[in-house]
Structure formats: C-alpha cells, structure tokens
C-alpha cells in the first residue's frame, strides 16, 4: 500500500481527539486483536485528554494485567495511567447476566421481576451465548452513555459473525415476542389466534408437549407473560441504542488480520454496517509485516544471493538472513494482495495498519506502542 496508489489512511487521532466522538465500536472476527485494539484506542484517547472507558467481552486476564489491574469485572475500574496523561481511563468486562438482571429489575415491579429471574427460560436466556451477549453489550453501552461519566466509550464486541446481531435486536425481539409463536403459546389451546392459524396447529402444540414435556410449555408460558410487561421498555431501549449508534458521534472500526478469513469477515461487517447506515470510520489491519526501510531487495534477489552463499560455511548467518528476508517479502506481497482485494469491494475505506509485534503485549507501554502504530503512517 504505497502512498501513491494505496487506500486513504484512517486518521485515528482525528477521531479520538474530536470531542464530538463519544462512542467507538470495534468489530471483527475472533483472534484478530480486537480487544487489544480497543484497549490501545482507549489508552491513547485517555493520554490525549479524553475521559475514556473501555468495555470488553474478553475475560483474558492478560488484558487486565497489561492495564495494571488484577482482573476486570462488571464495574468500571480506573486504570493507573503514567504521569503526563491528560485524561483518565477506566476498563470493565461485560457481566452479561448482571446487566440483564438489572434491566429486568428496572422495568418490572419486584414481584414480576422475581418471577422472571426464577424462570428456567430466563436463566438460559441470560447466560446462553448466542445473541444475548451482543444485546447486553449494547445495553451496557446505552447505560454508560446515559450516565455521562465518560466522554468516550470504546466497545469491544464479541468475537463472532453475530457480533452485529445487536443491530437486529429491536427487530428480533419484536418478531419473537410479538410473533405468532407467543400468541400461540399464550392463548389457551384451541382458541383465538390459534384457531385462525389454521388446522394442524393443535398437533403442533401436542407435539411440543410430547417432545419436551408439558412442564416446558408451562415454564415458557409463564416466562412469556411475565416478560411481556417489561418488553415494551426493553424494545424501546434497543431502538434508542440503535439510533444512538447511527449518530455522527459514533465511529465503527472494523478490525482484521491480513488473512483470507479475517478479511472476508471484515468485508461482511463493512457491508452490514453500510446496510444499517452506521457510521464506519475505517478498517484496522493488525499483525501486518511491513518491510524494513533500508535495502530494498526482492524475494528472488535475496534467494539468489542466499544460494550463492550456501556453498561455503563462512556466511551461513548472512544466507539465513537473506532467506528470512525473502520469506518476509513474499509474506508482505501476499498481505498487500489480500488487503487490496478486500478493499476493492469498499473503495475509499480508510485503513490503519499495525505491524505484528515479535512478542505479546504485557503492559501499558506495549499497549501505547500499539496506539502509536494505529495512529502512524501505513508502511511499505
């Protein structure tokens, strides 16, 4: 990605320095360094004067430790920043069940809330992974935003394609809870809407009963009727958060690594965000292998030179260094080819690249160097 023909550079500092930017959402496939990117962005913003909070779904202790904390939990904890930082930083981990419990307690009277919290369906829903985590991440985001305690919220989304499922949350909850299934389950058998749906459904009801036991239907019915009372508030909140995300104060950052799978997922996220009119700031490609500035030697030249040296024992080290260089040149060419291909479908999308580190990030200094790389120029 040379300066002449390459993509626009993602200006990370312009985003985090702009006081109008209130939310940064990082999304992408698993294992691309999303959590590290989120933490590095939060740290850089804090050191440049923002009051930032980073919310992650990753329970990795290493992240907590690299922030100088023992562990992360559902409460924002202050991150001890080195001297010279102009702002503040907090970090927290999403506690899915607690967040969900709080929503229920806020929207239902104590009696209803207890009914819901004790229902086995609620227990599965609030601890199960698919969908709930994404939705609760957005709920927490809404809470943090309303609290007004921070002027920048950095969100690290769950590592799956469903990370953007929260965009569907208002619709999906609506479809489910207003849907025919609920009408069908909440109505006594053989009455009302149930009959309107036509013949054959009596069979369905009895089959569901047979499949999972009558108790299942009872549990589900009582869950649905109790949940129904909190549902209005629930959906309203989901819609609010959805609109908040569409505002210009939000910046979505898609994170990828330079491999086929991660870039395909990045492409998917990019399309998905565009389809929902979400403000996409750009693409971060982590773990790239830029070539050193000096000594532009092609892979073939390096291989040939290594070959020439391999006859004698004297220059084994130089021959190995040349082979290593040839490998790096080919790797970089592949990375640029893959990124170029991914970007061809999204012309004009700004990109920031972060070079692979030889070792893992262990501390604030390591995170800061990632932040510096994020804000730095795209290299050869």
């Amino acid at each position: 990605m040379s300066a002449e023909s390459g993509p626009a550079r993602l200006d990370v500092d312009a985003i985090i320095d702009d006081p109008r930017t209130r939310i940064v959402v990082c999304c992408g496939a698993g294992g691309v360094g999303k959590t590290t990117t989120s933490a590095a962005l939060g740290l850089r913003a804090a050191e440049r004067g923002r009051h930032a909070v980073v919310i992650t779904v990753d329970p990795a202790r290493r992240l907590a430790q690299s922030l100088g904390l023992e562990s992360l939990d559902g409460t924002p904890r202050p991150v001890p920043l080195p001297e010279g930082a102009r702002g503040t930083m907090h970090a927290m981990m999403l506690d899915m069940k607690r967040t969900f419990d709080e929503v229920i307690e806020e929207h239902a009277d104590p009696e209803r809330a207890r009914q819901i919290l004790d229902n086995p369906f609620y227990k599965t829903l609030s601890t199960g992974f698919s969908g709930t985590q994404e939705y609760m991440a957005m709920e927490k985001l809404g809470q943090l935003r309303r609290s007004g305690d921070w002027d920048l919220i950095v969100v690290d989304t769950p590592p799956s394609r469903s990370a953007l499922d929260f965009l569907d949350a208002p619709k999906r909850l609506g479809r489910f809870l207003d849907g025919k299934l609920i009408t069908f389950l909440s109505a006594p058998a053989g009455k009302g809407a149930f009959r309107m749906l036509g013949s054959g459904f009596g069979l369905v009801a009895s089959v569901i009963g047979k499949l999972v036991g009558a108790r299942f239907l009872d549990d589900l019915r009582s869950f649905v009727s109790a949940f129904d009372t909190v549902f209005g508030g629930f959906q309203q909140r989901a819609e609010q958060t959805y609109r908040l995300l569409q505002e210009p104060g939000t910046a979505f950052v898609v994170v990828a690594a330079p491999d086929t799978d991660a870039l395909r997922e990045a492409s998917y996220f990019t399309d998905r965000l565009a389809a929902d009119s979400m403000p996409l700031a750009g693409l971060v490609v982590n773990r790239v292998h830029p070539l050193p500035d000096g000594g532009r030697l092609s892979a073939q030249e390096a291989e040939r030179a290594a070959e020439a040296l391999s006859d004698g024992e004297d220059h084994a080290l130089a021959a190995a260094a040349l082979r290593l260089h040839a490998e790096r040149v080919r790797l970089r060419a592949r990375e640029r080819r893959l990124c170029g291909k991914a970007l061809s479908a999204h012309p004009g999308l700004p990109v920031a690249e972060v070079a692979a580190l030889a070792e893992d990030v262990h501390d604030i200094d390591g995170l800061r160097s990632i932040g510096t790389a994020l804000a730095g120029p795209v290299r050869a």
Partner: protein, 340 residues
C-alpha cells in the same frame, strides 16, 4: 456408552476440534479428516457455525445442510462434509422421529427457530452436536443409529469443526443447558444420548493453538474446562510451525540485541549485493524479530508440554492453505501418529 452402541476398541470415532479464534480450527479439522480417511475409510467433517469455512478452504461454493461427499482419495478414502444448520437439523429430526414434515414447516412459520436461537441457545447447540453424534453412531443402512449393533459403522470417523474455546464448554455440555428446560420427553432423552457420545472415551476434544501466549493460555484453560466436565481431551495441534532459520547460539545473540548487522556485512558483500551497510542494517532488524519470535515460541512450547497432552505440529504454509497444502498437513498428522 455401551460398547455395543459405539463400537469396541480404543480408537476415537468422534474428533471435536476447537481453539482460540484465528488459530486455524477449520484447517486443522479438515487436515485431520483427510488424515483419518487416508487409510481408505469414510470420514464425515461437520461444520457447526454457519461460516461456510470448509467450503471456503476447499474452494467450493457454499454447502447445503446435508452430507455431501466432496473428496475421494487415491487409496479409496472418502471425506463427506456437512454444513450443519440448527433449523435444518430440527426439521429433519421432527420428520425422522415424528413424521412431521408439514407440521415441522408450520413450526418454522410460527417462529420456533427464532425461539430456538433467541431464547434457548442450549436447544440450538444440542441440535448441532446431535448431528455429529448421530453420524458417529450411525450403522450401515440405518439413519437412526438404532440398528443392529453388529452392522458396520456408516462412518469410520467424524470430525467436528467446533466453536472456539471460549464457547466450547457450554456448547458440548448440552445436557446441563437442556436439562433446565426440557425435563422429560424425547428432546431430553435425545440430549442424554448426545451427551453419552460426547462423554465417551472414543470422543476426543482436540485443541488448535499458535505458539503465542494468549492462544496457549486459552488452550490450557480449555483443556482444564473440558476435563472438568468429564470429557476427554485429545491432542494439541500447534498450527503454523516454522523451522528456525538460525542456530540456537545465533538466535540467543540476536534476541538479546547483541547483533547489529556487522556480522552480515562480509556475507552480503561476498554475494555481490549493493548498499551492503544499509541492507545489513535492514536485515538485522528482521533477524532480531525472528529471534524474539523464536524465543516466544520456545517458551510457549514448554508451557504446552506441561499440559501433558500429545503435541502435534502442523507446518506453516506459505501463501495460505489450499488443496495441495491440506494434503501436506494431513501427512504431517499421520507421521506424528495422530490417527493411530
């Protein structure tokens, strides 16, 4: 699980492949399926996350949710692939056990599938794991796996490209998820049967990792979690292993920063290259990061050895994994005795 139901012997029949995101689960699972089929057997490779990762790896268009024979090996081995899908599995299950073709479709219209994915993720997981366990138990000429125990197994082995380590415990421990919801009935007994297969000694959970700290930590945590659930951990697949290009002494010197490129100058000059000082400086930087990386790999490998599971290397493939490279990876697995 009785011998009659899941076969005699000690060789694993169901291989579940997990690992941290980005470590190459799909590649490892596919290579393992090829290695298992190399002796002429029939192997099923199951994908459960709807990513179409296997199709992508094999350079094929998206696969339907049904078992398809995709690879025929020279030795007579066959690899079938199933892109499992919870909705298709549910409908198939209803049709198979209850003859509910039409009513099943009615359930879809009613939003039962939304329900299964939104409110009861445990049901979704049991449907997906159920596809793999049913295939592993299936006997020749029988779709239900309830046929005579004397009939040969339909598949010699089943390999599942499973969800990542962060989700693998709840995903495989379907019983506890379902037990709270369906206390009785066929769904419950289906879940019990699935769990029997998953807990069997002939089901192994393999972990894919890279020689980096976080994937290795997740691998160790994952093994502890799986064993804590009473399941059996198999091998650790170390993916993208590269041979070091330098000797131990040179690596140590370079990693300590005691290598400024001067040592390269005579060699680069002898090779007749231009701008030797500039080139030496550039290359020495690459050598240093290579050495640091090699040090990290050595440390994480020692860390992995302490886990006490067999560690199997999958070589790094330059230029990305595609068909010929998959065969090389499968050979590497065979050589290291993974499929014995």
């Amino acid at each position: 699980m009785s011998e009659a139901e899941f076969g005699r012997g000690t060789r694993a029949r169901l291989h579940i492949v997990t690992g941290k995101g980005g470590t190459g689960k799909t590649t490892a699972a596919t290579a393992l399926a090829l290695a298992l089929a190399a002796e002429g057997g029939r192997v099923l490779l199951v994908e459960v996350e709807g990513r179409q990762g296997i199709a992508g790896l094999l350079g094929r268009p998206p696969l339907p949710p049904e078992e398809r024979e995709l690879i025929a090996l020279p030795g007579g081995g066959r690899v079938c692939v199933l892109a499992a899908d919870a909705e298709a599995a549910l409908l198939e299950y209803l049709a198979m056990f209850y003859g509910m073709g039409r009513a099943g479709r009615a359930l879809t219209r009613l939003g039962v599938v939304d329900f299964a994915t939104t409110v009861a993720p445990g049901l979704r997981d049991v449907l997906l794991t159920g596809k793999a366990t049913e295939a592993a138990r299936r006997r020749a000429g029988d779709r239900r796996g309830t046929g005579g125990a004397s009939a040969a197994f339909h598949y010699d082995a089943v390999v599942m490209d499973a969800p990542p380590t962060g989700r693998i415990g709840p995903f495989l421990n379907v019983n506890s998820e379902v037990a709270g919801l369906a206390r009785v009935g066929p769904v419950r007994s289906h879940a019990d049967k699935v769990m029997d297969v998953i807990r069997s000694e002939r089901t192994l959970v393999h972990f894919v990792t890279l020689l980096e700290e976080m994937p290795v930590q997740e691998c160790k945590d994952g093994i502890a979690e799986i064993e804590g659930l009473g399941l059996h951990a198999g091998s650790v697949f170390v993916n993208m292993v590269r041979p070091p290009l330098l000797g131990e002494d040179d690596l140590a010197t370079a990693a300590d920063g005691g290598f400024d490129g001067a040592a390269l100058v005579p060699g680069l000059a002898a090779a007749g290259l231009a701008d030797v000082p500039g080139l030496a400086a550039a290359l020495s930087g690459e050598v240093r990061s290579h050495a640091l990386r090699a040090g990290l790999e050595r440390r994480t490998r020692e860390d992995l050895a302490a886990v006490g599971r067999p560690v199997v290397d999958l070589p790094y493939v330059e230029g990305g994994v595609a068909w010929p490279a998959l065969e090389r990876l499968a050979d590497a697995l065979k050589r290291q005795g993974t499929v014995r």
